[in-house]
Amino acid sequence: MSGIVGRADRANAMEDLRHVGRSEVRIDGLDKVTGAAVFVDDMDFGPDLLHAAIVESPHPHARIVSIDTSEAAALPGVVRVVTGADFPFTFGLYMQDRQVFARDVVRFVGEQVAAVIARDPRTAREAARLVRVEYQERRAVFDPLEALATEAPRLHPGLGDYPHVPWFFPEPESNVAHRRRTIRGDLEAGFAAADVVLEDAYRVPRYAHCALEPHVVVARQDRAGRLTVWSASQSPYTQRHVFAQALEPLGLSHQDIRVITPYVGGGFGGKAGVSMEILGAVLATAVRGHPVKLRWSREQEFYNTYQRQGLVARLKVGARRDGTITALEHHLFWDAGAYVEYGANVVNAAGLSATGPYRIPAISLESVCVYTNLPPGGPYRGFGYSEFSFGIESHMTRLARAIGMDPVEFRRRNAIVEGDLLPYGALMNPSGLHEAIDRAAEAIAWGEEESPREPGHRVGKGFALFWKAPAMPPNASSASFLKFNEDGSINVTVSGMELGQGYLTVMAQVVAEVLAVPPDKVRVETPDTDRNPYEWQTVASHITWSCGNAVRAAALEAREKIFQVVHAAHGLEEGSLYLEDECVRCDTDPDFCLPLRDFVVAGIETPDGTYRGGPIVGSGMFMPEFSSTHADPATGQGGHPNVHYTVGAAGIILEVDPETGKMEVRRAALAVDAGKALNPALLEGQVTGGLLQGLATVLYEDMRFDEAGRLLNPNFTDYKIPTAHDIPDEVVPIIVEVPQPDGPFGARGVGEHTMIAAAPMVADAVEAAVGIRFNEMPITAERVALAVARREEPDTWAST
């Protein structure tokens, strides 16, 4: 048997829902299977389109002594060559530590130093090679622990002056860009009360998002001064805002900038915020009137966009023999790279939640954002939780075994429930964590022996919990507009991005539900900041929840207007009206049935020939008004930085060939509490996709750098992402639905969560199969085979 099994059975809907909760076909599906979907690179900009190429630093850390652009500028076909001297601007989402072009100092290999704009890409590339840059090399540091040493080279002497959000605590005179402490309870007493205290370190390397579509930007500043940017992005409004901040010296503000984002070929966090797009924006101002295009090569995609940050975690957890966790201490040192304008918030998020979904009376979390001379770290699906969960969940299993308790039972006892204290002192939201644990354990027949399919192989099972909250500023908000058309169809505008998760479809379902039209009569288009209303960004798995609320509000407003018009024209009580099958109906008059198409634009004719109503429109907004980052900086207590947590559990059955180290995932089950699955098929898509992405991080992916900070595998030849051969034999998605009180129809986000549990559960299963525990990712076939071989034949391997 193979494939997805057990189309998750779901609790009966609380309400009688017609469209929400159904596995509707994606509204963007047709565009995608026919090739009609347009991505930025597919757009035509006419013969005056110019192409840019970037001059990059070959050094991880160096002072720029001089830049000579004369030879490049003289090449026929070159239009402009620009350097940091032309655009001495800094930018950044949470901390403005990034420069458009490196000016005095380069801080990672591949950093942009200058750009050539030419009539065709080949000339641009050739000219870029002719730009002469003289460098004076500096000592570089690549390891976060080394970077913490007092004698380590300092990357940002100006750290103390960088503007940043109020919840960051940079430490000038060091490489610490931010330190988040979350401390609660009596740690010493907690450890003293424990029967077993387990202490160990875990290492997680850097990873790449590997969206199939590389970053690409086209920008044009027209002769009237207006700047339009087309970008492959998760964040049109945030981009506009960051551009406006950075380009303020050029006299540009929000109203002068327009960001248009068509379909995007995958994001996973890599296209959040602003990275290379700033280059498109500034280059356009250098060649007014011309559109300029910059498309990252696959190599650049690897070394000059955000990367998932590396982590060294030291973890100490105590438990009593009865299975109660008494105390937890977690130090996290992040290899955040050369610039942390976004990555520092990953560090922050981890520092708030690196307990995992457990009830623990005494905790101390310290999450440290350390500058290194590697490419900038940043958001990646999981936003820090994938990284720290490798240690936390590995540790929980080990601790359970150390006190002689079944690891699933141990988790059941300590799993957080509604009303428990969160690490920062607020209360846990409703959650179906225990149901998720039971169902995931059952799906992999936890506790039962499994025989291998091949002689000589071993089978092991692994289990892990996960949780994650959106990491957002407290005022991250969403808005939506909606209008009816003459045929009763609806256009909805929002500024969240369809990254593939199915967001447009789900928004259509929400509108369809409220306004009683079929989802295929609802068009939801990709954003244009001139036309679509505000959305913070499509990140943090918050979009279904946050924008879903805004869309629902817009639909409710439109419904309200519909009822008002019908009341005005027909005199029926508004409270007696309802919508069904594209018609307005009335409780008190069963024969009344007014099709929406008859009046939602044209209005309703009254007996005297006059009309009531008019084109029906609606608008909605959403802001989590209870969220706050005001807290005691020393302990993190007192605020409400996270709106809610989505939780779940996952289990795996792994078959290992101890001779070769090769591992096969026979079954992976993942139960996630979605609050309410607005579209179960799309949610299951998040499970199959996210699980595989997570499995790849533990089984073979990782970014490898040489001693000079150069990425050795900036391509799919050597950074292996899974192919169709590398999938689990069976994936079991399990949907738990304990409603989120403030979610649209009870929904909360799940997009990132599906990859978090993969690494620790594989580590568990490997240990169960071959008796070796790995504390460092990835756990490749090579590492497993060699560890087994060393154990079996210590003599042969003594020298290696």
Binding site: S2, G3, I4, S23, V25, R26, D28, G29, L30, D31, K32, V33, T34, G35, A37, V38, F39, D41, D42, D44, H209, C210, A211, L212, E213, P214, Y263, V264, G265, G266, G267, F268, R295, S297, R298, E498, L499, G500, Q501, G502, A681, L682, G685, T688, G689, G690, L691, L692, Q693, N715, F716, T717, I721, P722, T723, A724, H725, I727, V731
Partner: protein
């Protein structure tokens, strides 16, 4: 150094004057204006640029446009011109794609497979897709759709 080249793309003839260093992918996107073959890696690793060359899938980033002189080229634009092909319909109904960037290559790989093996096994489907990377879906919904298309009489 222009080369006169005749490409037959989705049944239409294109007479082009090309630099021999232009890849088929570049010529299709830049000269002919078919945009479904995508630029994913330009080194043969990802399959986003897959097109059918005389009925066989190739990576158009690793083919010179001049090499395709006289050849029949089919891109996703040329599949199911009259309504969806059965495999496209199956992929649509299974919600197989997420971001859809891999879709043009995957549909063509599926078309090549189903032409040779109208009722493929799961392993044959995996093998046919193995050169088309997809970062979003975990492949399973794509495999299921192709198997379903292959079950139709």
């Amino acid at each position: 150094m222009g080369h006169r080249v005749t490409l037959r793309v989705n049944g239409e003839q294109w007479d082009l004057d090309l630099d021999p260093a232009e890849t088929l992918l570049e010529a299709l996107r830049g000269r002919v204006g078919v945009k479904s073959p995508k630029v994913g890696c330009e080194r043969g690793d990802c399959g986003s640029c897959t097109v059918l060359l005389n009925g066989q899938t190739v990576r158009s980033c690793l083919v010179l446009a001049v090499e395709a002189d006289g050849a029949e080229i089919t891109t996703l634009e040329g599949i199911g011109c009259e309504g969806l092909a059965p495999v496209q319909r199956a992929l649509l109904e299974h919600n197989s794609f997420q971001c859809g960037f891999c879709a043009p290559g995957i549909v063509l790989s599926a078309v090549e497979l189903l032409a040779a093996h109208p009722h493929p096994t799961r392993h044959q489907v995996q093998e046919a897709l193995a050169g088309n990377l997809c970062r979003c879906t975990g492949y399973e919904p794509i495999i299921q759709a192709i198997l379903a298309a292959g079950e139709e009489p």
